[in-house]
Structure formats: structure tokens, C-alpha cells
Point group: C2
Chain length 358, copies 2
């Protein structure tokens, strides 16, 4: 517990605010995730939020972690059942609130939490506030795809169940920033999710958004590929899939569920006979390589976009590997100065909106 965020260290470290509580696997998994990250990346330090009595023994076992972790005592825990509105009103003593507060005060550059998504988004909106020009913040995820970079960005996947045409334009801008800084795609290709690729199809707000996004294409430095379909979420036609939070949430959960069903069926297939069991032994390294490629734990983390500060939401069931992946993503975004760039992109669109030039 020697590191202090405000203290001058020989090397300036990236401070990551970590909510140690609220994940399904408890604080030990979160601390184990921090340990993996600390070993892998010398440039990060942690502000860890939760009950000090619980966290201290877990952290102090590992000198490499202890020397760059500050613990912020917070005894309250946001559970998966807590209602966001309730947490916003009465959650001041919670580790989640405390984790967001470290970003608000500027002592950390980014927050990571495995907790209740709705509560985390509500707290982030209230405490960090929305960026100028953003009406609805969004949650963006990386989805395995056949693209060169191996993933597409999809947003919104559940911050808000509604999105009008203006929101969808902002999602396009924010998603493009995320693809540049999170996936190193220079000129991201934006696709607008719809039930067909013809221009005349789909809901009214989608047709409006189509025109708005098309108009910003040049200025915003992305390529707009038009409407895309569900199959393109894992495809190579676009790098960023823009949709409302209702549709996006159902799409990722459908994809996750389908992948998990196939995984279970694959295991059954290999257990079927002695021959197939032998085969699975031989194929072990190949299958592990495959699992590494499509394992959601390796790309664990929805990112909240459109706020004054970056928040990474790790999967509730994340284990140490998952938490460490979320921390890696958080550190990378901070190192790229992601949130400032995103804010500039969204701000640059404002005058055009207010006085449209045809």
C-alpha cells in the first residue's frame, strides 16, 4: 500500500480505479486480475475500492501488487439485484460509487467494475456527467469477427433501450473513436444495423440516421458502409456496428448464447467415443488456440462512451483472466488519450448540427 496517486514516483504511472466488489466471483478474483495486470504492465497502478479489512490481506500477499495499490475503504456493496435509481440515491458508501469518484476527482484516469451494469451506468452518468453534445451515452463492446483485427465494435448494447437518429450519429462518432484507439483501425468502417441493406428498409429513425451519418462521413474520418444486418456483427463488412441499446443488447446475448451452446455441443461430441476422446487430446492445443481467439474473457469489457471519463464494465462472472483483460483495455484507452479524442470528435459535430450546411 505504498503507492499514492498524488505522489511523485520515478515513473508516471497510469492509475486505474478498480471496484473490487460486486462481481460474481468476489474480491479475490478481482485482486487476482489486478495481480496478472501488474505483472504484465509495469506502467499501471491501482486504486482499489472495497472493505479494507477484506482487501488488505488479499493485496498484501503480493508485494508486486501491494507496492502500487492504494485501497479506498468502502463498506457498501452494490448487488446485481439493486435498482440503479436506489443506488444513485443511497449508494454513497459503496465500492462502486467510490470507484467512479476516483475518476471524477481525477486521481484515476479510468474505472473498472464487474458490478451491476445498470447501477454503474446510472452512477457514471450522475457523477461524471455526459460529454457536451451527447444526449445518450452508450456501452460499446468488442465482438469477435472475421475482420483483420479479429473484432468489431458494437454500440449501444444496453445503456439505453431507445436511440433517435441524433443518438445513432453520436454512436457512430464514438464507435469510430473507440475502433481507432481500442483496435488501431485508422479509418473505421461504420455500419448501421437494420433488417435489410436496402436504403428504403427499416424504421424511420434508421433512415434519418443513415442520412446524418452519411453527411458526416468526410469530416469525421470514417467510412460509412450503410445498412448492415445481424450477420455482419461477426463479419468483415464493417468495423463498427451502430444500433440502439435494445437491439444491441439482444444481439450480443444471442451471440454469446449461441457460441456457448456450440461450445457445449463440441465438448459432448468429443466425449462421445474413445476415438473422439483421443482426438480431443491430439487437438488440444488447436482447440485452446481457438478458445483463446473467441473466448469472451479475453476481450472482456464493455466501455461506457459519452461521459467525462472512461468506465470499463467487466463481465459480472469475470474471473482473474477476465478482470485482467478489462484492466488491459482500460490502460490502453488511457495511454491513447482516448476520451479526449472522443470528446473532440463529438464536439466537432455540434456546429454542423446547429447550422446545417447543405
Amino acid at each position: 500500500m505504498t503507492a499514492q496517486p498524488d505522489q511523485n514516483t520515478a515513473k508516471a504511472r497510469t492509475f486505474i480505479s478498480v471496484d473490487a466488489m460486486g462481481g460474481d466471483q468476489g474480491p479475490a478474483a478481482v485482486v487476482a486480475g489486478c495481480l496478472i495486470s501488474a505483472k504484465a504492465n509495469d506502467e499501471i497502478a491501482f486504486i482499489l475500492h472495497g472493505p479494507e479489512a477484506t482487501l488488505s490481506p488479499l493485496v498484501s500477499k503480493h508485494p508486486i501488487l501491494a507496492e502500487r495499490t492504494t485501497i479506498r475503504d468502502a463498506v457498501g456493496i452494490v448487488t446485481m439485484e439493486d435498482k440503479p435509481s436506489q443506488v444513485v440515491r443511497t449508494g454513497k458508501d459503496t465500492s462502486m460509487w467510490s470507484a467512479i469518484e476516483s475518476v471524477r476527482s481525477g486521481e484515476a484516469s479510468v474505472a473498472v467494475s464487474c458490478g451491476n451494469t445498470g447501477a454503474l451506468m446510472a452512477l457514471s452518468m450522475i457523477r461524471l456527467r455526459k460529454l457536451p453534445g451527447v444526449n445518450r451515452p452508450a456501452i460499446a463492446v468488442l465482438y469477435p469477427s472475421s475482420n483483420a483485427q479479429g473484432f468489431n465494435v458494437m454500440l449501444d448494447v444496453g445503456a439505453d433501450i431507445r436511440a433517435d437518429a441524433d443518438d445513432l450519429l453520436r454512436y457512430a462518432l464514438m464507435g469510430a473513436s473507440y475502433a481507432r484507439n481500442g483496435l488501431n483501425v485508422d479509418t473505421p468502417r461504420i455500419g448501421l444495423l437494420n433488417v435489410g441493406t436496402e436504403e428504403h428498409k427499416g424504421r424511420t429513425e434508421l433512415k434519418e440516421a443513415y442520412d446524418l451519418i452519411r453527411k458526416q462521413e468526410q469530416k469525421a474520418g470514417f467510412e460509412f458502409v450503410g445498412f448492415v444486418e445481424g450477420g455482419d456483427i461477426s463479419g468483415s463488412k464493417a468495423d463498427v456496428i451502430v444500433t440502439d441499446g435494445f437491439t444491441g443488447n439482444i444481439a450480443i446475448k444471442t451471440g454469446e448464447g449461441t457460441a456457448s451452446l456450440i461450445g457445449r455441443r463440441l465438448k459432448e461430441a468429443f466425449k462421445y467415443s474413445l476415438l473422439s476422446q483421443l482426438a480431443s487430446l491430439l487437438a488440444y492445443t488447436s482447440l485452446m488456440r481457438l478458445q483463446k481467439k473467441i473466448d469472451p474473457r479475453r476481450v472482456n469489457g464493455g466501455v461506457f462512451l459519452g461521459l467525462n471519463g472512461t468506465v470499463v464494465k467487466s463481465h459480472g462472472s469475470a474471473d482473474a483472466t477476465g478482470v485482467s483483460a478489462a484492466i488491459k483495455l482500460a490502460a490502453q484507452l488511457v495511454e491513447n488519450g482516448f476520451n479526449d479524442k472522443l470528446a473532440a470528435r463529438v464536439a466537432a459535430i455540434l456546429p454542423t448540427e446547429e447550422s446545417p450546411q447543405e
Copy 2:
């Protein structure tokens, strides 16, 4: 070409009206699919629609098929690019129109087509008309799941991009009928697709639909499990997933895309080294068994529900195996007297709607 639908045969056969044109693989694949079905099921006969000059040579090669196939000459072809509204106005000479006409006139009990979904739905609605009490017909598919029967029913997957609470109630009733007659589930469990399982979550029409479906639970002979999420589409919590056509269409295409990405990655993994290639040889039968279980060609066919007649939409890219699966499904539904049962279920709900009893 000896079979005539209106002719008394020794054994009464189920006449299936098949649109031979419009699929990506052309009429040869469709005729090959009919041939597979003819060999497998002695009780079906075909009315085949398309240019006689093209179809006759394909059919006459196979006596087993020829003796129970009637060809209806139709020279026009609906392409995947044709707009539904255009086909409805000017498509009288097409094989698709002709195929629907055989159901309308009663000479066939069900139609099967691999063609343009939008045009097929538009033609079906105009020519067959909606069932009393149905405002929006729906397309239902079978989705691989971890349920005992191996599949869930999902609807609507794209007949209409909108659905209000009343439509969703009809979808629940129609989906339950389909699960009973297509999957042999006696008391289907109905789930309403949403972004969370809490009762207070989601869009207004979903909350309304929740109450409407709950109210009909007893009378309609299904079990309502409430809201379900994207992951439940391939899960075991419900047998029937009810949603609007926009969300449903994106969900199935996301699932298909994800499954296909995993399939490609799996093949790459097995090609990686000599050892993994050997493993794939050993695992061959297991992997084939898996493919058979999750192969979309084996459960090929969206069914149009809510019309005066049953129409099965086969995948545009269906090969002979796919076409034959769609024919099998069509025959099974006819044998179960599916459409009459469905109509009775929907009709039974009408009085309750008009004079609600609390």
C-alpha cells in the same frame, strides 16, 4: 407427370406446392430436394411450379418423383432483388405466385419456396389473406437450443418490423401452436424477449404484452415464463421466444453469423498442424454428428403463421438437403392439421379481447 391432385389415388397423398425457382442454387437443387423427400416419405406428392421446359427434363429422370409430380408451367421468376410491392402488382406469371395459388385453390395443403422472403410474404398475405383476429402475420423459425427437443421456436423473425402488444399476444398463441405441432411440445413455455427479466424493464408495448399473455396462459394451454433475454433463444428456459420482426430478424442473423464464424475458426484450428489434422480425422464422425445437430440445413424453413394456409420459406441458399428438410416440415405440419388448430386457438381469444373479464 401422372399424379393429379384432384384424382383419386389408392392412398390419399399430401400435396405440397413447391416453387422450383428463385433459390440461389436453381431448380435442379429444388427438384433434387423433392426427390430426397419422395424417397423418404411415401405419402407426399408435389405440384411443382416453374418453366415446364426447364422442369420436365429434371423431373422425368426420376420415375419415383415423376409419378407423383404435377408441373404447373410458370415462366416468370421472382428474383431476390424484386420489390414485394412490384411482385404483388405484376407477378402473376411467376412460379412463386403459382405456388401460392395452389394453396389458395385448395389443391395443395402447403407451399414451399426458397425465393425472396418479402415477396413471398406479400403474395401470401394478398392471396391467402390473414386469419380472423390476426393483424400481423409472423415468420417463425426453429432455433437450435439446449432444450430436450433440441430447438426453440422464435417469431417474428421478419414478416413485419413492428409489433404492438396485441400482435405479440397473437405471436405467443401462434408460436405455441407451432411448438405443439412442429416440435411435439405439449405445453409450450412462452418467453417474451426483452433486455432484462425484471417486470419493470423494457419498452411499453412489452409490458402491455406481458400482461396480455399472462392473462391468456390458462385458456391457451401454454406456460408463460415471462421476460427472457437474448441468451435464452438458444437456452432451455422457454420453448417459444416471442418478439417483433425487427429484433427477431437481427437476433437470428446474429446467431447464424456467430455460428458460422466459429465453424470457420474451428476448421482453421484443425488445419493448423499435422497433429491437429490427425486429430480432425479421428474426430471426424463426432464432428459430423455435431454438424448434423446444429446444421441449419436440417431445420431449414421459416413458417408463415397467421394466414389461411401454410407457407414454408426455405433458405435462399438451400441445397437439396435444405429443400428436403423444408418439405419434411411442411408435410409434418399438414399431417398434424396445424393451420386449423392454430386458427382455432387465435379465434378462441377474440371474445376475451372484446369483453375483458378481470
